[in-house]
């Protein structure tokens, strides 16, 4: 009946929006230029998920979990993931280059100044306010992620157990994910919903 069955098979919301490479360069370049005092995951989420709508919270946080199991800086990992998600290999390359170039130039210049003049720039003091604000951003992400994550008592328990394992037991992040992940995945395992069952019964009846 429909001319193009492929389009109807895939819901529109699942396909990421079309984003130009220039927009990616500007987006990640700006983050690279302003990620003072280290990587700010909350910062990227607010811009990419809330403001741009490039990916959903579910996509963002599961990607964040994957990135944290793998080695490497979290911010770089999530940028590469978003780049690939939007524009494939080219997008990932552009994201990586754009987020790394501004800090590379800035840090190299400061390094040359240090070795040339023996100037000791103590970035820590300069960044006191920035890290405090970064902490506020992080805390806001807890609230916003919590809103999406909590759909039952099980989810609340998972949040608390994760927190306690990291803070009190000092377990490494990737071990926490590898330990709790399978339990949570099993809890949320695909279950045949009523629609499927009704369809099955129909098939059996016919």
């Amino acid at each position: 009946m429909s001319k193009n069955p492929d389009i109807t098979a895939e819901p529109v919301s699942d396909t990421p929006p079309r984003v130009s490479l220039w927009e990616l360069i500007f987006f990640f370049g700006l983050i690279g230029l302003t990620s003072f005092g280290g990587g700010l995951t909350a910062y990227i989420r607010r811009l990419a998920v809330t403001q741009k709508g490039w990916l959903t919270d579910e996509e963002f946080f599961s990607a964040l979990a994957i990135v944290q199991i793998l080695p490497g800086a979290r911010v770089v990992g999530i940028s590469v993931y978003i780049g690939n998600h939007l524009r494939g290999l080219l997008g990932a390359t552009v994201a990586l280059l754009s987020i790394m170039t501004p800090p590379f130039i800035l840090v190299s210049c400061l390094g040359l100044l240090y070795f040339h003049y023996g100037e000791n720039t103590d970035s820590k003091a300069l960044l006191a306010g920035v890290t405090a604000v970064a902490c506020g951003l992080m805390a806001s992400m807890v609230f916003e992620a919590g809103q999406k994550a909590i759909r039952g008592v099980f989810d609340v328990m998972m949040i608390l157990i994760t927190f306690l394992l990291v803070r009190l037991a000092h377990l490494h992040v990737q071990y926490v994910i590898l330990l709790l992940g399978p339990i949570a995945i099993w809890w949320h395992r695909p279950r045949p919903d009523k629609k499927d069952e009704a369809q099955k019964q129909k098939e059996v009846a016919s």
């Binding site: 990587g39 405090a132 992080m138 994760t162 990291v166």
Partner: protein
């Protein structure tokens, strides 16, 4: 010179794929290798360079400065080349790994398990962020002004749609003027 480049590449590629849990995990190894093994710099220089490197960019930007210092004896141009070599060797391998796993993960979208994993990871990710917020708070909120700035940032994020770029730039400005 070529030998120094080789050492940089070998060292940082290994560190890149062994930095499980973020760059900070391999910092002690980097310090040991750069100071005691290769004698690229003194311990005090390493500490100074780390202090400079946290100004901007992802954690472990210190590798850029280690590369810079390691090649410094060949002149400034080679030194910048060394910084570039070190940075690429540190960030490229882990990025390729993320790319491969990310593509695999996205291609898996049609499976019902994909949604299960997404649902399962939401609360775990939330717990990890909660823990990270506590750790950052411990290291960043020391004085009353920093505490006020943190709370203001939290409120602005929760109750307004203010662009966080503006908040970060403003925070940097305030730090520069008042908290130095």
């Amino acid at each position: 010179m070529i030998q120094t480049f080789g050492h940089l590449v070998a060292l940082f590629m290994i560190l890149s794929i062994s930095a499980f849990g973020g760059g900070k995990v391999v910092l002690p190894t980097l310090q040991q290798q750069a100071v005691n093994h290769y004698h690229w710099m003194s311990n005090q220089q390493f500490v100074d360079l780390f202090g400079i490197s946290i100004i901007d960019g992802p954690s472990m930007m210190v590798v850029t400065l280690v590369g810079l210092k390691a090649c410094m004896e060949y002149g400034y141009v080679i030194a910048i080349l060394g910084a570039l070599v070190a940075t690429v060797a540190m960030f490229l391998p882990s990025s390729i790994l993320v790319l491969i796993v990310g593509r695999f993960w996205d291609s898996w979208k049609t499976s019902p398990w994909h949604e299960s994993i997404q649902r399962a990871m939401m609360p775990i990710s939330t717990g990890l962020i909660l823990a990270a917020a506590f750790i950052i708070a411990k290291h960043s909120i020391h004085t009353i002004p920093t505490a006020i700035m943190g709370v203001i940032a939290l409120c602005l994020m929760l109750f307004t749609k203010l662009n966080p770029v503006i908040m970060i730039v403003a925070a940097a400005g305030i730090s520069w003027v008042f908290l130095r």
